[in-house]
């Protein structure tokens, strides 16, 4: 998506002062136009369907749900920027995982917000450097998962795995379910083969 001449922005926040404040600040910026604003998740969804916009700024805490539910990554739809009062890296991670293009604090300087909007409209993602830690993710299994996989590959039953790792039977089953889902395998044998291939069994 190329940078349009005027970036049309939708704002979703249930606090009127914030909404108006943000809208007023953005109105003064050339190249940015506030297309619509909404105070609830339902209103926001309706507005998204009815009117076009390039970037949506959405607050996490809304009266009828979480703003994160609105965020969706798609080529045709608008880019999303998540707004929050709390500067916790976990929020940034949750936002980016959902497909947002950035995470902003409500007290951020207007210049920062404008920069984020412009970047989002151009298809780029912005995040604060101090959130980087939380955003780093590994696709490798966790050490507990590795313990379970090793025992499965060794042919142990769930009961034996549970007593060897001092977990409950339910927890072992939950781990296996998650492993099957994450790595797209259907049986223990497949999991063991995958582990062998990926080198997880070499300790």
């Amino acid at each position: 998506m190329g940078t349009p001449d005027v970036i049309r922005v939708g704002i979703v926040d249930d606090h009127l002062v914030v909404l108006e404040g943000l809208a007023a600040s953005l109105a003064h910026q050339s190249g940015i136009e506030v297309a619509w604003s909404a105070a609830t998740l339902a209103d926001a969804r309706a507005a998204l369907e009815a009117r076009n916009c390039d970037v949506v700024i959405v607050d996490i805490r809304l009266p009828d749900g979480s703003g994160l539910d609105l965020v969706a990554r798609s080529r045709e739809g608008p880019a999303f920027l998540v707004l929050s009062s709390f500067d916790r890296p976990l929020y940034a991670r949750a936002a980016v995982e959902r497909g947002a293009s950035g995470y902003l604090l409500k007290t951020a300087p207007t210049s920062e917000i404008v920069a984020a909007i412009e970047a989002a409209a151009a298809g780029r993602t912005t995040f604060q450097t101090h959130h980087l830690d939380a955003l780093a993710r590994t696709a490798a299994p966790t050490s507990r998962e590795l313990d379970v996989v090793r025992l499965v590959a060794g042919g142990w039953s769930n009961d034996e795995i549970a007593s060897r790792l001092s977990l409950s039977h339910k927890t072992v089953e939950a781990y296996l379910t998650r492993l099957f889902e994450r790595w797209c395998v259907a049986t223990r044998t497949e999991l063991a083969l995958l582990a062998e291939r990926e080198g997880w069994l070499d300790s």
């Binding site: 009062s85 916790r88 991670r93 949750a94 409950s168 939950a174």
Partner: protein, 536 residues
């Protein structure tokens, strides 16, 4: 500074697709923990050992030695001699011809002279009586050692477990000298049972339960073999009495030492004063049955009853407290905790809503003016402080993103505020899409981990703090491990005296939602472990 790798699983928001909370059930839930069961079994067997020791000593004081000899119906020869009995030790064997016999009912006691292939042997009550009475000090020493071992054991030291079998064997030595088969078997089986329990007590984990089951089966088999092998000495009533006696002893000990467990069982249908109503009659029943049917010496029973009654006031106090907590208290406690959390959440939200948003709006407006950078910065500082207050009341991440994310955030915050510690979080999110963890459990788990972390960071002299475990809608297993010396027990005792009940409140929270809390050292360091499963 290397903060360590933080494992990232799908956050609760991503996995569920929705953050709308469902209200949890208000009913309290129970959780059966293998460790607790093993401990209560051990304690009840300690009680059994204590009663056996009393029995042994009292028997030694008042019993008369039994020759252990069976005479043929015509009185001419010896039919059977029990190996190890007084007569056997004096050299009398089966098949010997009886030369002279004075019955056990005569005032001087029994006297037997018999002649056999090995010569003429005599055996009398008086000589064995002296030996039996002489063994009383040994019995008393064993009982004293047992008492000390119990005290040590109840304080949590493993040493107690090791001393108990020895103490029981010593205390029961007089029983072995009576020559009475019943006493021999009580002594032998009693020692084996207690020894087995003590050895099992030294082994951690679920193994004790399985070994205990095996041991019980083995003892039952040994009992059956004994009854079958020496039918001439036993009469059928005797055969039933001994296991019944052992069972009564164990239940009596359990009643005294592990009141809580019994209280829990009794709690539901009857009411808070159930144990008060049941305790005294139960003790009386045990006493009457022991004397009338099991032939336990009256003095032993009197001693046991006195002991049980002496424990009664403290038993009643702590039991009423426990029962009140368990019955009504549990639900009330949970409601209390939930009310506090709701209040804190409400306050946090109030701070978030009007003040924080208003402040953000003012900052936004000021930002537009080029001449107010200092004011803007100052206001941002105020906003940060307000955020900190709201976060301390109730972490927003817990509200918005769920337990796993909140624990990672906690690790992040702890690591930042304590730069000389290395804090890692590795909590696996095992929630199935669409499942919800009970909000009360979520809050309890978070607060417990929070408390455990702050204890470790504040009191333990370690370098590495780990938050580990897994969270699913139907199972929570979280551990906080620090590689320091753990929380110093004297510090804990001191804090408790001064009114800071950190550890108590953690256990409180855990039990209020039906989970369990375990503290202890293991290979990695000092571990606080919270586990929860819904009551099935």
């Amino acid at each position: 500074m290397d903060k360590g790798k933080r494992q990232v699983g799908p956050s609760r928001a991503a996995a569920d697709g929705s953050l709308v909370r469902r209200k949890g059930s208000p009913y309290s839930k129970r959780c059966h923990n293998g460790g607790m069961l093993a401990r209560s079994i051990r304690y009840s067997l300690v009680g059994a050992a204590a009663l056996l020791a009393i029995y042994g000593v009292v028997s030694a004081l008042f019993a008369t030695p039994d020759p252990g000899v069976g005479i043929t119906s015509n009185g001419a020869s010896v039919a059977a001699v029990l190996p190890g009995s007084p007569a056997w030790r004096d050299g009398i064997r089966a098949g010997d011809t009886v030369l002279s016999l004075r019955d056990a009912s005569s005032p001087e006691g029994w006297d037997l002279v018999a002649q056999g292939t090995g010569g003429t042997h005599g055996s009398s009550a008086s000589s064995h009586l002296a030996r039996l009475r002489g063994a009383v000090p040994v019995g008393l020493a064993g009982a004293a050692a047992l008492f000390l071992a119990c005290v040590v054991l109840l304080r949590g030291a493993r040493l107690g477990s090791a001393v108990i079998p020895l103490a029981v064997a010593v205390a029961l030595t007089p029983l072995m000298l009576t020559g009475n088969l019943r006493d021999l078997i009580i002594g032998g089986l009693g020692s084996l049972l207690v020894a087995g329990a003590a050895i099992i007590g030294l082994a951690p984990g679920r193994l004790p339960i399985r070994l205990m089951t095996l041991a019980s089966l083995a003892l039952a088999a040994a009992w059956v073999v004994a009854v079958v092998a020496v039918p001439t000495i036993f009469d059928p009533l005797d055969a039933a009495r001994l296991p019944a006696g052992a069972a009564w002893t164990i239940v009596g000990g359990w009643l005294t030492i592990d009141r809580r467990r019994l209280a829990r069982r009794l709690a539901s249908p009857i009411g808070p004063n159930a144990l008060d109503i049941v305790y005294l009659p139960a003790v009386a029943a045990v006493a009457i049955v022991s004397v009338a049917f099991l032939d336990v010496p009256l003095v032993a029973v009197a001693g046991a009853v006195v002991m049980l009654l002496a424990l009664y006031p403290s038993a009643r106090r702590s039991t009423s407290r426990a029962m009140e907590r368990l019955l009504i208290g549990d639900v009330r406690r949970q409601a209390e905790l939930r009310a506090v959390e709701n209040e804190r959440g409400r306050l946090a939200r109030e701070i978030h809503d009007a003040p924080l948003q208003g402040l953000a709006a003012v900052i936004r407006r000021l930002d537009a003016r080029p001449d107010a950078p200092a004011e803007t910065a100052a206001l941002r500082e105020v906003a940060a402080q307000l955020r900190d207050v709201a976060t301390a009341l109730r972490p927003p991440v817990l509200e918005d993103l769920g337990l796993v994310a909140a624990l990672e955030d906690l690790g992040d915050v702890s690591g930042t505020s304590h730069p000389d510690w290395w804090v890692t979080v590795q909590v696996d999110d095992l929630a199935v899409t669409g499942s919800h963890l009970d909000p009360d459990v979520e809050t309890a788990a978070f607060r417990i981990v929070q408390e455990a972390c702050s204890n470790a960071l504040r009191h333990s002299r370690g370098r590495r703090l780990q938050i580990l475990g897994s969270v699913a809608a139907d199972a929570v297993d979280l551990s906080v491990v620090d590689d320091g010396n753990g929380v110093n027990p004297s510090v804990v005792a001191d804090a408790r005296r001064r009114g800071h009940f950190g550890l108590d409140s953690m256990r409180d929270r855990a039990e209020a939602v039906g989970g369990s809390l375990d503290l202890g050292s293991d290979g990695d360091g000092f571990r606080v472990r919270f586990q929860w499963e819904p009551r099935t």
